[in-house]
């Protein structure tokens, strides 16, 4: 504190002059003139404190040399155009949906452009709470973003995400980097040279911390081949459950592996076709060999133990094993399964279809009603969605069109799955069919139904429509408004919905042009 009497003034003021009377001061030092006249009154304590405060404020020295750290490296990529930068500022500042931000980010990433630097902290904060946006944000953050993320531990995820996007990585990362950086390194090496990546991993396998092994082993999924079998097979004996699970999953995908052979043998033993019926006889005990192969003993709630073991084994066996029951997937699905086991078998087939990427099985399961109608609840909904993704794009589009043109009340769960599986932007025939269906739904439905269902459908349509569909949506909006006017209804839910669709699509349209 400036002025040697400040501590005295402070002590006196704290206790109070009532208890610790102030007798005036005999100051020394540079501010002594200021407080030389300080007398013994209460007021004098404060007047002296005031004078010293002014002196201290006027005499505030700057702090000595403070290191400022390295500046950010120069940026090699181009920045987004000014209009797009303004749009980003608006998206980040406002209450607009995360969806629009996602669209903006993809537009920037597709053009290999970087975001304006002053918006990076806000982008990082959004990505911090919305992990799906992290890789997009990392891609538009550029060199400035990497520099910035290095200053704040909370933003570490940006560096990790950027490391995953770099193809050519510094080999030192493998020895010294954090886990995500090492995974990124191994992934990039694996993509170029699967054998070298396997060698790298085998070299250090025994000395790796158990917590890191699972993530590193999972990298082998890219370019999986028979060279990998030995390491994976040995990992089935790992002490850590996560590592064993990854190993079992990889071996299950590896054609001709001993693991697949063991699973095939189990399934052949447990599921037997008599010609007329399919008998299902899973074991009553989960033995050590089953457990070693990654079959979990404890079922999820609502599933029986034996059904769970069967489901896991059948999901890991190659689909060719089922030709023993019938020649093709639809015939297998039509076979008479012993009562009580058909849900288990369907789920196992769905998981196998996804694991082995089998569109024929996916089509057959969907055709047999997997995950829709009465089966919507008992079949896993995530499994059902993944099945749709296996279908060829044309088939999904055709199925969606058929669903909305054939039936006036289509199964909306199924429709939603089909539309989610259609790659955006939709082909014109699907867009036309969906707009037609939307018009019909608005005309025929109850106002509350519009609120809930059509609203949901509307958002899906916005995501799917190509930018040049704006005119068609505007035309439909005009018709809906004309219908409502003709009926003397004015601002109906349908009119409002169409207005908001027109706004959403034209916003996207404008956003797209802002990148031109």
């Amino acid at each position: 504190m400036t002025g040697s009497i400040w501590p005295e003034l402070h002590a006196t003021a704290l206790i109070g002059t009532g208890r610790k009377p102030w007798r005036g001061a005999s100051p020394t030092g540079p501010t002594s003139d200021l407080v030389a006249g300080v007398g013994p009154d209460d007021a004098d304590v404060l007047l002296a404190a005031g004078a010293l405060t002014v002196a201290r404020r006027a005499g505030t020295p700057p702090s000595g040399s403070t290191p400022t750290g390295e500046p950010a490296p120069a940026e090699a990529r181009r920045a987004v155009p000014p209009a797009a930068a303004t749009r980003l500022r608006a998206l980040l500042g406002g209450t607009s949906s995360g969806e629009m931000l996602g669209v903006w980010l993809r537009l920037a990433v597709d053009r290999d452009l970087i975001a304006p630097p002053d918006q990076l902290p806000a982008l990082f904060q959004v990505a911090h709470v919305q992990p799906p946006l992290q890789s997009l944000v990392a891609a538009v953050a550029g060199a400035r973003g990497a520099w910035l993320a290095g200053l704040r531990p909370e933003w570490r995820f940006i560096l990790d995400a950027q490391a995953r996007q770099v193809v050519d990585l510094d080999p030192r990362i493998w020895d010294e980097g954090t886990l995500p950086a090492r995974v990124a390194y191994l992934e990039s090496l694996r993509g170029r040279d699967p054998r070298a990546a396997l060698a790298r991993l085998t070299e250090v396998w025994a000395s790796e911390p158990p917590a890191e092994r699972a993530a590193l082993l999972a990298v082998l999924e890219t370019g999986l081949n028979s060279d990998d079998e030995q390491l994976c097979e040995s990992a089935l004996d790992d002490r850590r459950k996560e590592v064993r699970a990854v190993a079992a999953d990889l071996l299950g995908r590896l054609p001709g592996s001993a693991y697949q052979g063991r699973m095939t043998a189990r399934v052949r033993e447990w599921v037997v076709s008599t010609g007329r019926r399919v008998l299902v006889r899973p074991p009553v005990e989960c033995d050590a060999a089953m457990r070693r192969d990654g079959i979990e003993v404890k079922p999820p709630p609502g599933t029986g133990e034996r059904a769970w073991w069967l489901e896991q084994a059948a999901a890991a066996a190659p689909l060719s094993v089922w030709t023993s029951i019938a020649p093709d997937p639809p015939a297998v699905l039509a076979a008479a399964i012993e009562p009580g086991w058909s849900t288990t078998m369907c789920r196992a087939w769905a998981r196998a279809a996804i694991r082995f990427g089998a569109p024929d099985w996916a089509a057959a399961l969907i055709a047999a009603g997997f995950g829709s109608g009465p089966n919507a609840e008992i079949h896993d909904t995530a499994l059902a969605a993944s099945l749709y993704d296996l279908l060829p794009a044309d088939a999904v589009v055709d199925a969606a069109i058929e669903l909305v043109t054939r039936s006036s009340e289509p199964d909306l769960t199924r429709l939603g799955r089909l539309l989610d599986a259609c790659p955006a932007p939709w082909p014109a025939r699907l867009a036309d069919a969906m707009l037609g269906y939307l018009h019909q739904a608005i005309r025929e439905s109850h106002p509350t139904w519009i609120q809930a269902r059509v609203q949901m459908l509307g958002q899906t349509i916005v995501n799917g429509l190509a930018l040049d569909a704006l005119a068609a949506v505007v035309t439909l909006a005009d018709r809906v408004r004309a219908d409502a006017d003709a009926a003397g209804l004015g601002q109906t839910g349908g009119v409002r919905l169409m207005d908001s669709l027109v706004r959403s699509i034209s916003d996207r349209h404008t956003m797209f042009q802002e990148f031109a």
Partner: protein, 441 residues
């Protein structure tokens, strides 16, 4: 052809982010029936925006003495149409076209309103009758009397605090301060009331509160003593003391003082909102004189603030300063030219120069709580954030609700011109000048 504003400058005019989003969507030539710019005077941008109704909205902007008009029903100023129009203009997509009649009418209407206001001011400045003068003198004497009693009461209260001891005041509760503040309002000393309310915050400001509270008590006690002796103070210091106590000076009187002409750069802006009132502090600096100025604007909560001073522009104008010892607050009297963009603020200097300017200000006005500064330097994050200039000297940065990461991000660790307010609590960055562009902090 005048230099256009940047999109960032237009964004800074936005009352809220949803307006900016809507404006960005309107900032496409296809959304407008007609667009035009006219160099003037007055420099104008105008457009007819397709709305939901059959009649397009008429939107125009006066670029010389910035003001907006739009026929849309929105109460926001500027509305999304104005902002959209400005964004198109900022992009360079508006061609030169003479203004249509409705724009000319608007200009004429503004000019005639300005003339009437000027006439009213002149009339107010006319000598009053003897009776009016006597009545005014009587009112002034009454107020002086009330304020004097309020000041004496505050002095007594401050002394009582010290007699009883300030230990424990951090837990005194709001009523302890609010009662005194209310009595000062009744005594027509709103400046003192505001400072007493501020003390409540100081007392509950955490570790070191007792040191800070004693300092504030001391300053306030100095102010009460100064007011008691105001008749013996030099005129300038007396005006400063009256200002801190809460006497206001009529704007007519300010405008009647000797104006200061310069090219004033709009350095930085800061909006301070409380429940009833939003105050916009606009910091200016004279390009030739290096003299700082502060223009205050007020709006009731949720009402638009005036936007006649655009961040990052400079305007040749006459400013009139409020009376006082360290004159800072000013009003714009006359503009001599249209505002132009500037790329880098004048008078950018070192941390030491900024601290010296504040010390100089204190020597005239010991109660000056903050002072503007432009420092060429780097804001460094850390446990303590700092502003470090090119000589390596630094000061603490005051952290508000959010750490100023966007300042760090925008500058990228390279020295930039950083404009802000210095106060004993630290430096508050308000605007950043990087590569010829202003970025509000």
């Amino acid at each position: 052809m005048r230099e256009r504003w940047t999109a960032t400058q237009v964004s800074a005019l936005t009352p809220d982010a949803s307006s900016l989003s809507a404006a960005r969507s309107l900032a496409s030539v296809s959304r407008w029936h007609a667009l035009g710019a006219d160099d003037g005077p007055p420099g104008t941008v105008w457009g007819l925006c397709k709305g939901s109704g059959s009649k397009p909205y008429q939107t125009c902007v006066d670029l010389d003495d910035p003001a907006f008009r739009c026929s849309c029903p929105s109460r926001k100023i500027p509305c999304k149409h104005v902002l959209g129009l400005l964004l198109i203009w900022a992009d360079g997509e508006v061609g030169e076209t003479p203004v249509p009649d409705w724009v000319a009418e608007w200009h004429a209407g503004r000019a005639s309103r300005a003339a009437k206001a000027e006439a009213r001011r002149t009339a107010a400045a006319e000598p009053a009758t003897d009776a009016q003068i006597r009545a005014a003198a009587r009112r002034a004497a009454q107020r002086d009397d009330r304020v004097s009693r309020g000041v004496a009461e505050l002095a007594q209260w401050l002394d009582d605090q010290v007699r009883g001891g300030i230990a424990g005041l951090d837990r005194a509760g709001y009523a302890h301060w609010d009662g005194v503040a209310s009595r000062l309002i009744d005594a027509q000393a709103p400046g003192l009331a505001r400072q007493v309310r501020y003390l409540a915050g100081v007392a509950s400001s955490g570790a070191g509160w007792d040191q800070r509270l004693l300092a504030e008590f001391g300053l306030l006690r100095l102010l009460t003593r100064a007011y008691e002796r105001i008749d013996y103070l030099p005129d300038d210091l007396a005006a400063t003391v009256r200002n801190h106590v809460g006497f206001t000076v009529p704007v007519e009187q300010v405008l009647a003082s000797e104006p200061v002409r310069d090219v004033w750069q709009v350095l930085a802006q800061r909006d301070i909102a409380d429940d009833r009132l939003t105050t916009r502090r606009t910091w200016l600096i004279g390009r030739e004189s290096g003299r700082p100025a502060l223009v205050l604007a007020f709006a009731a909560a949720n009402q638009p603030l005036p936007v006649d001073l655009v961040l990052g522009t400079e305007v040749d104008a006459d400013l009139c300063f409020y009376p006082g010892a360290a004159q800072l607050r000013a009003v714009v009297k006359v503009r001599h030219a249209a505002p132009m963009r500037f790329r880098s603020p004048t008078g950018s200097g070192t941390v030491e120069a900024m601290l010296r300017a504040y010390a100089d200000a204190l020597s005239s006005d010991p109660w000056a709580a903050n002072w503007p500064g432009v420092v060429r330097g780097v804001v460094t994050p850390g446990d303590t954030w700092r502003l470090v200039d090119e000589t390596g000297k630094g000061v603490d940065v005051q952290i508000g609700a959010d750490e100023p990461w966007h300042v760090v991000a925008a500058a990228g660790g390279r020295p930039a011109e950083i404009a802000g307010e210095w106060s004993p609590e630290g430096f508050r960055p308000l605007a950043l000048y990087v590569d010829g562009e202003v970025i509000p902090a």
